[in-house]
Symmetry: C2
Subunit: 477 residues, 2 copies
């Protein structure tokens, strides 16, 4: 293959990103076709006069996003592209359906729902059947306490490619959901009766677990760019739980400088960081920022990932990556803990990953979700532009809306009457600021573009009703 | 159908048991054939001049064991019997294969393994596929926090028929394994830093969970017939965890008088009993004793059941039955806890139960395990009769062997050299009695009759070797 990427060495965009974008566009345009082999790292670094590392980084990103696959000893090959709507395609003019009053078809902006129509149900069924047929005795027994070894191997290799996390399968422990994982970490790190710092606002489901285990939860407020490091330093916490790739629920991405400070904090105080990378797969804007774990030279970061967002909430599979020194502590202290994920699900997921379906699925879903998010943003801009500010649009499967002047609770209630379910966010705050105006949460993973558009359109009507009601209320009083 | 059971009203055996045994034998002999309808309760109670309750109890037992099925408004019908080896059939003469030294084929008497060859793999695959195909949105999402409602309904009805437990699906919570269930109960009952009484010896996997949650574990010793109630009364514990249907690991069955005392203790002290009925399905000797929960009029018993023994360890499904008053406490206190069992496994299990496969499976497995146990007992009697005492043969999937004079650790090590894996039991004891001689544990669920026979035969050789070694050791010293 002759390739001639036009690389601007003095541009703001790093070379590896330019190279990555070049290949991605060529593949998407069809200039480089399915099955074609990419030039070797050596060839390309020589012909472009750039370092091998730069080429490798670009290639790793292409692998992680499912554009190419690496075949042992033969090189990188371009994968088939699915017929996925591009972001541009959905930015057509908004239809304005005539909807009056309450509708029977509730449009539910529930966070946590995923796209089901394009879920690879046939492949998943094949994997499940294969799992039950697997000759391995283990598949029918309690199995490995840390989880299916093959699956842990697949996860380790995925994490290296996609998130820059270097770990061995021995460092990985599978659990039935993130709450189960956090419960286990509280035992492992002996956090009972100790101070644990949490982002405020943050994920309430995890906060309750810390509280139920008698941890003293210390809320740390957020700056524009994420967790306030000074407050953290003053907290004398033994451990911090953070969502740096996509702060939940606000959505900022922690810049690399702050990541380094966080790591310094942990190194200096001999404390641990729990990095919950719950939806790191779905990043739409800006260039990739390395995960905290990939920057962790002091073995102080415990990484959490989940298949709930990237694949299937119904699978209930979360994974913990322990720093090397904690593996032994785990084995001597928590040896008795049985595996909580069904062996059949583990074996099926192993097959799904091993056969390359997972990488492709992630890539496909990233486009689909990006398309949905674009539709949502466009609809919000057209319909609600003057009434809200959008928060957290760089990544993930939800947005927050800051309301200008409207009362959040009234809006949510009224929306329900009109067949639109949207969500309050106050439960995510532990310390509410004075004169707290909570934003509204819209999850879009489970809705079609049509539902999103029709939902926002309807929401605009609801807002008008609320405005009028509020004015009437003011006139009366 | 004309039926003429010969009931001895003055016999020691209660009428309902005689009636149950009559039907069971007639069905097994083929005198009453598949699809035939049993007489209605009214008819039979009139014709035999016995109470309707008596007939109903006998019929419930037949349903629970899968001999008949109840079809709404039409009555009870006889189910097809599988081609299952009867207990008698396996009591043939023992083969004595010539085995020398170490063998490549390890025979592993691991407790927790189940019979796989007769596992209904086709049906289970059908249920799994059906689950993934299910139109329900819930099957692909996080689902009901307490678990799949249909599955909870099936469990409620199974528990009524099989264990006399009356509960509504609302009282049932599904969890990924028993440790997860106990963890949840510790939160629910606020047992952290409180005294919790455990049978000693008992199930170590649960003891570790209590300890890790900072409960003060109080070991209660066992009498011949189960937990020592006086010690329990003196313990001032807030809660007791017991295995009354088949004490783990010793195997005694708590007599009904002691069950009543246990319930009185809980009623008087406003404490809770956690009844772990982990293998209540597999009872071979003696008449059924009602579960603690079925006798609980004070709402003080929390019942735990699992599909790990009765169905499949790989499913990782345990269920909690809460007393009615605790349901509200659960909802207000633990509302945040996500379901830990995969939706796909839950839906598949629901289908498996709803279509009647579960009841049949239990009945089939009871016979298979009974056959295996009979083979094991026979082999032990023939081969090791003078060297061991058998403990706990009334129920379950394991036996203990008390050694006469041999050292348990040496035996286990030497057996491993000879290709036989047997298990020490000291880990089940918290307070070891002075001059403690631990029994050996043999699980037989996962082994074939041939493996059992060959394993015990080999064990006899190992014991001889150990005896000789011990004598040599004595002579030397």
């Amino acid at each position: 293959m002759q390739i001639t990427p036009f690389l601007k060495k003095d541009a703001n965009v790093p070379i590896y990103l330019q190279l990555y974008q070049f290949f991605r566009e060529e593949i998407e345009k069809g200039s480089i076709i399915t099955g074609e082999k990419l030039p070797s790292i050596r060839e390309l670094s020589q012909s472009l006069n750039i370092s091998r590392n730069t080429v490798d980084t670009a290639y790793q990103q292409l692998i992680a996003e499912g554009y190419v696959v690496s075949r042992e000893k033969s090189g990188l090959f371009v994968l088939e592209l699915d017929d996925v709507p591009m972001v541009q395609e959905v930015q057509h003019e908004l239809k304005l359906p005539h909807v009056e009053g309450k509708t029977d078809n509730l449009i539910d902006f529930q966070y946590g729902d995923i796209e089901l129509e394009r879920f690879p149900i046939k492949v998943w069924k094949k994997c499940l059947l294969g799992a039950v047929d697997a000759p391995s005795h283990e598949v029918f027994s309690y199995g490995d306490k840390k989880g299916h070894y093959g699956l842990r191997t697949e996860i380790a290799s995925y994490l290296y490619q996609a998130r820059g996390v270097r770990c061995s399968p021995d460092q990985i422990i599978l659990t039935a959901g993130t709450q189960t994982a956090v419960n286990l970490l509280i035992q492992l790190l002996s956090l009972q009766n100790e101070k644990v710092a949490l982002e405020d606002p943050g994920y309430d489901g995890v906060r309750y677990v810390f509280e139920s285990q008698k941890c003293e939860v210390v809320p740390i407020s957020l700056d524009e760019d994420g967790i306030n490091i000074t407050e953290l330093e003053q907290s004398s916490a033994q451990c911090v739980y953070v969502t740096p790739s996509h702060q939940f629920p606000i959505g900022m991405i922690l810049p690399v400088q702050k990541r380094m400070k966080l790591l310094q904090w942990a190194g200096k105080n001999q404390t641990y960081i729990i990095e919950d990378d719950y939806d790191g797969e779905f990043r739409y804007l800006g260039q990739p920022i390395p995960s905290l774990k990939s920057l962790d030279t002091n073995e102080k970061v415990i990484y959490l990932g989940t298949f709930s967002k990237a694949f299937l909430p119904a699978a209930r599979v979360t994974y913990i990556v322990l720093p090397e020194p904690l593996v032994e502590v785990y084995q001597s202290k928590l040896f008795y803990i049985s595996q909580t994920v069904s062996q059949h699900i583990q074996e099926a997921l192993y097959r799904f990953m091993k056969e390359g379906h997972f990488g492709r699925h992630i890539r496909k879903m990233r486009k689909i979700y990006q398309g949905k998010q674009a539709a949502l943003l466009k609809a919000i801009e057209c319909q609600l532009g003057d009434k809200v500010n959008v928060i957290g649009q760089k990544a993930g499967l939800h947005l927050l809306l800051e309301l200008k002047g409207l009362d959040a609770k009234q809006l949510v209630e009224k929306a329900e009457e009109f067949g639109i379910r949207i969500y309050l966010t106050e439960k995510f705050w532990l310390k509410k600021p004075p004169q707290f105006d909570q934003p509204i949460m819209l999850g879009f993973g489970g809705l079609s573009v049509e539902q999103i558009e029709s939902g926002v359109n309807q929401l605009a009507r609801v807002m008008k009703v609320c405005e009028i009601n509020q004015k009437i209320g003011e006139m009366k009083s």
